[in-house]
Symmetry: C2
Subunit: 598 residues, 2 copies
């Protein structure tokens, strides 16, 4: 079989103007960026706002191996399968064909970070015959949104250090006389806004900034700092949760970047940098329209990771897609304890649009990995033995899938399990898995997804089962109300959500919870940062663990995004590069074409 | 008068497809990026390569004040003036109208860095009625080229620290067994590749990376590091000096990023990251086509500063423009001791295309500032008194202009002085200046430029004088040959170029010179990094100083760019933000439009 980038290069694509026109977008509602990308203007939302809202399908997964289980490939395959399936039945069904456009399906996907592209995981455009195209544009800069987030974020960092420097250099009073601005009196030890970069760069996790040659102060004042990956920036969360440019501006102005010497919060508005940050992100707020290899229109927007951020593509993209299409397929990162939990508790509470159906991606290899019978270590290759049939391991690992089905149903959302089939998977094991799922009392069905090899045709049954589940009368319920206390919300996710037996806040986290509550920041959602390799906070704990504690070592206020970020266990907000990073395979060939990207 | 961004917003622009078509570009030779930007494919060069080469006009300046003297506004005004003038005379002149396109003039401008946009200087799109449009796109992300340079640069940084980490963590032998790769044995104290960011952020000048919590090593090994501004990245220089994608790939592979424990150079090729860096910059190598407010096609490409880098837009852009247009107007940053020197000694020696004429921008305020009679300090407002007529100061400051005219002629290039007129300038002083210039024995003429207020019509006389000077038979001569020794080349620029009486290399610089020579890196150009506020290395020394020394504190090898970078005096490769940065004025208004950008 051809490589992902080869398949992508030989597949004829539709000009993006045609895609946009077929969607019913007016010519002043999008701007083409080359032949196959277009920025969609938010003005379109004003016009289509009153159209009926289509169904929203969220693709999630069981607890994955470090390689990922093909959530994007399944989401793209499903979107392509739905498009084929609905086109076939367009005269038969009820509210389909109710809109004046050819496309009744859209996909909404996150923009991949270059960190994983160059690191371990590679690209995130799907794969095989179920990709978003052109995949090299998606996986690299695309239309620059992540760069814009990074630039706006680091502008605030430069503004903080410059302000500390000038106020301390001149003295507060002299500073005020000279600049006619109020001194902010920032406590340099209480800067909570780290810098960001879109790379896996462990050396930047903990750094000292503002160092000087002996006897000099021209570089500012020394303090401890660090870089997170851009996907973890509060601005990335804001980009995905804002519903307009005005909302983006207001949310950015609410960001707390530091505390002053009397412990009062200092915002970007106080630094007079919120406007410039918004200006820097002005184009980023427009989703980028692309297409799948079978021409399904796809919006790419925002890229928060689901382990160290809230892990879902943007509300703006969903808002546009659900007005333009009957079915919108999107995905929440990692397992349903990660991106899907946040899709329900953070995103849906902000957007007032609940998922109509969840697709849980499972692979035989990840099910068996969840048995705990194999020696799996992050950063190392998966043992070959896991690919051989093993009924015992499959049954043991099934407990993890069962947990995720229960978890999805817990929110009142119907589920379809998608078996992302690999070439070496045996029919016996697949049949066994289908029987196990069909025996469950849950609101769940199951279908194969062979989108990697067959494209949309490999996901027709999956598409049909999703259409059926979307007819379930809605009774969505998040795990908590924003009006609950911070402690209640943390417990809701850990105990009701993960099934933990306890939550333990460190002394630091307790003190932070008290402070945020006192300062009026308690009506926000909670965003858990934890390992995606287990339902618990211990990446080695597989299957469906019970009787575990969720240790929270630190809280972070994201007043602009609208949540409090809880760092659980030893999760890190800046990945590192492995011994043999993916970048070693990348190059250009003699014709100037990219090779080695997958 | 309206603000720059207001003028830009109300001026009707031509669709970029029309501009491209009028230039004679085929539809497969460019890709529109929205309505008013297009990436020009390097394939176009293959087709137009055999067309006659037009004239290349380099706009330079006298020694400027920290506010700049309007070099870009004059370059844009001149391009617009030439377009008007040539259109009028198109039947009369000789080799004009020899090409099948409407445009006989193009401009080639650097992409502005966001550092100055948010810092002191503001945007760099020109101003008033002589701007590149849309100015907010030019001044912010444009088509992402600077972001691509930043990303590719920092990928190499992450690769270096990751390699050091894994080799030291595992031990060289174990690393080699486990990865089947050769251990590079990098000396962590001899990493010469700093990180970069496109912001003015003094706190990042000197940092410590790889710090850990007590007893841990998971973040790598501690070492001293720092960030330069992206404009100073060797990759930015490579982008401007490469002539094809293949050349870009080869130059990137030659970059020396560190030395091993036996002091052998380690390149990006050794790290197997050169391919991925090239892939990251694959779109950046295509110039971005825009237009001036009067529709003159303008290529924007690369953005090295002229004080801390080589300060000229790209060879690729010039190569395309001089084939498509009869006249190409470009600019070299700061005074003729800075960007113009490098345009001749670095860029022209690499491209084999010498300037046909230099335009020296002068303002009355900068001439008077060069008298040394005013108290000017960087970071502070220019004294009001400098705007009042002062014949004595003008005559004293004229010495600086005279120096720059001599300097340009020294390279065999004819000169035109452009007086960039400000509203408060008196006719008496302008007449006095014209008389002073006309009395010189040099190959020079002089004209007013009123492009800010009048657009191209304000630069008609300037355009005519430039056309005349371009007829001078060419006898270009750089100051040195690449085959000269490093010491000879440094002396050529300092003694012959600046007129210094001596060059003093620090012990460190001497040792570096010896090492680079021994390692075979002595056949490269030299790139001086120094203050732009004086011809000397002391920013306070105005006019046309004599009998001064050029102290060189450090050399840096840029084997990919093809030069040795000499840090003179206390020049810094990372600017800082002032007390009241320009970003404080930026915001979006109720209609979502940007305000406060100039």
């Amino acid at each position: 079989m051809l490589s992902d980038i080869e398949i992508c290069r030989i597949t004829p694509l539709t000009p993006i103007d045609t895609i946009a026109t077929q969607l019913g977008l007016h010519t002043d509602e999008y701007q083409s960026q080359g032949a196959y990308k277009a920025k969609v203007s938010l003005n379109s939302l004003k016009r289509i706002h009153s159209q009926p809202t289509g169904k929203l399908v969220v693709v999630t997964a069981i607890t994955p191996t470090p390689l990922g289980e093909g959530k994007t490939v399944t989401a793209v395959a499903l979107a392509q399968g739905l498009a084929l399936s609905l086109a076939k039945n367009s005269s038969a069904t009820h509210h389909l064909a109710s809109k004046n456009n050819k496309h009744s399906v859209m996909a909404c996907i996150r923009q991949p970070s270059m960190g994983p592209v160059f690191g371990v995981k590679g690209g995130a455009a799907g794969g095989g015959y179920s990709q978003v195209a052109p995949m090299e544009e998606l996986n690299l800069h695309l239309t620059g949104d992540i760069h814009a987030v990074t630039a706006a974020h680091n502008l605030a960092s430069a503004a903080i250090d410059a302000r500390i420097y000038h106020e301390q250099r001149l003295g507060y009073e002299h500073f005020e006389q000279r600049t006619e601005m109020k001194a902010l009196r920032i406590d340099a030890s209480k800067v909570v806004w780290k810098r960001v970069i879109d790379h896996n760069d462990r050396a930047l996790r903990m750094i000292t900034v503002g160092k000087n040659e002996a006897d000099k102060t021209i570089n500012g004042f020394e303090r401890e700092d660090g870089f997170d990956i851009s996907a973890a920036s509060e601005l990335m969360a804001i980009l995905s949760l804002a519903d307009s440019l005005a909302d983006l501006r207001q949310r950015i102005g609410r960001i707390v970047v530091a505390y002053d010497i009397e412990n009062n919060p200092i915002t970007t508005e106080d630094l007079q940098v919120a406007g410039a940050m918004t200006v820097t992100m002005k184009n980023a707020i427009e989703p980028t329209l692309m297409q799948t290899l079978e021409g399904v229109p796809t919006l790419i927007h925002a890229g928060p990771f689901a382990n160290i951020a809230h892990g879902n593509s943007s509300i703006i993209a969903d808002n546009i897609a659900t007005k333009l299409a009957d079915y919108t397929v999107t995905e929440g990162g990692f397992g349903s304890d990660m991106g899907f939990e946040k899709a329900c508790n953070i995103k849906a509470q902000a957007s007032n649009k609940a998922p109509d159906c969840a697709v849980i991606v499972a692979t035989l290899r990840a099910l068996k990995a969840n048995s705990g019978l194999y020696d799996l270590r992050p950063g190392q290759a998966i043992p070959e033995s896991i690919l051989a049939p093993n009924s015992e391991a499959l049954v043991a690992g099934f407990e993890n899938l069962k947990w995720h089905i229960d978890n999805v149903n817990k929110y009142g959302v119907p589920a379809v399990v998608a078996i992302n089939r690999f070439p070496q998977d045996t029919q016996e094991e697949i049949d066994q898995l289908i029987q196990l799922v069909e025996a469950l009392p849950n609101n769940v069905s199951i279908a194969l997804s062979e989108g990697f090899v067959k494209g949309g045709k490999g996901a027709l049954e999956l598409a049909q089962k999703v259409v059926v589940q979307c007819q379930t009368p809605p009774h969505f319920q998040p795990l908590y109300s924003l009006n609950d206390s911070i402690e209640h919300k943390l417990q809701a996710v850990a105990l009701k959500g993960y099934g933990a037996s306890s939550v333990t806040l460190s002394a630091k986290a307790q003190q932070q919870m008290l402070q945020f509550t006192q300062q009026g920041f308690d009506k926000l959602a909670v965003c858990m940062a934890k390992t995606p390799l287990s339902i618990t906070t211990d990446g080695g704990s597989k299957g469906a663990p019970q009787d575990f504690d969720v240790p929270i070592r630190e809280l972070k206020l994201c007043a602009g995004a609208g949540f409090i970020y809880a760092l659980c266990g030893n999760v890190m907000t800046m990945p590192g590069l492995p011994e043999k990073p993916a970048f070693m395979n990348l190059d250009i060939d003699k014709n100037g074409e990219i090779v080695g990207l997958s």
